[in-house]
Symmetry: C2
Subunit: 159 residues, 2 copies
DNA sequence: CTAATTTGTTTGACGCGTCTAACAATTTAC
DNA sequence: GTAAATTGTTAGACGCGTCAAACAAATTAG
């Protein structure tokens, strides 16, 4: 199985895959900027990931993923995207928040739950004819606190 | 506003409110067991929370929440419950996993998103006549990978 | 009431991830 | 091709949350 990696280490792997954009090798400064940490943090993360055989990196060089690192990074990214889209497209969370939350959840939420969320997204997207019905109702419910067409089974106005 | 507290500290507060059950004061050993940490960790957490005025605790005594601590603990618990129920009742995640994930999410996911998830749950529960329709469809979709009554707009069978 | 057991605390350590400051290599500009 | 600017590393520190070991108080049993 996939040995456990810390949230931070997964973030570093994910950053490499996201930043490389064709170039397939990434500078420390890029990662530093993208992750909002200082360069020494990147350096030490790369050293650790190197020792685990997940990235290739030598002094003053660029970082690239090994095949193992690539697999893990892709997996993190896949989960990240599913979560982000669920938050943005189903819950209509604003893009920035959806991005940030996906980033947290991808590390802490169980695979089981992540899978369910992904399925939910798939389910909704796969049925464009049904989606508008209740999803729009939900949006109004979320905005105004009640269902549009009447049927006020429950009327909540806390906070 | 509510000053930020670490995930750990929120967990300790939450543990007090959950464990007291009428007794309204909690032993270190109880918390230790409930949180899966050793007693010294509890002691040092209580000291810190004491200094912040969130719990009342003196050497060899039981721990109780101050009014401030109570407010925060209640809030954490409220969010926890909303998340847990969303996972269990909407996504049909198994109870143990739902509990564990709620515990992670309550600390890391933004209030915005937590609010949306809670609204979603409310929305579904408030409309018992509509719920069965698409929610059952989702359950089948999640289990078998496709919609029961045909309409195979998209058929996904990855992993 | 004393002895045994349970409960709780202190101390000092560790791992993780981060940072700053000082230094070193690389790249860029002239 | 040398000087300046940029990029990267090392060393050492810190905060957080945890732990084990040693000790101290409180509780229970006799």
């Amino acid at each position: 199985m996939e040995k456990e990696h810390s949230a931070s280490m997964e973030d570093y792997l994910e950053a490499i895959i996201m930043l490389r954009e064709g170039k397939e090798a990434v500078r420390v400064s890029q990662m530093s900027k993208a992750l909002g940490v200082k360069m020494p943090s990147v350096t030490s993360a790369l050293r650790k990931l190197s020792e685990e055989g997940l990235v290739e990196h030598q002094r003053y060089g660029r970082a690239r993923l090994t095949p193992d690192g690539e697999r893990i990074a892709r997996d993190v990214l896949r989960r990240h995207e599913a979560l982000r889209r669920f938050l943005a497209e189903i819950l209509s969370v604003d893009p920035e928040t959806a991005e940030a939350d996906a980033c947290k959840m991808e590390h802490s939420v169980s695979p089981v739950t992540q899978e369910k969320l992904a399925k939910f997204l798939e389910f909704v997207l796969s049925r464009p004819n049904v989606q508008p019905e209740w999803l729009k109702m939900f949006y109004r419910y979320a905005s105004y606190g009640e269902v549009p067409g009447g049927c006020p089974t429950k009327c909540l106005g806390e906070e």
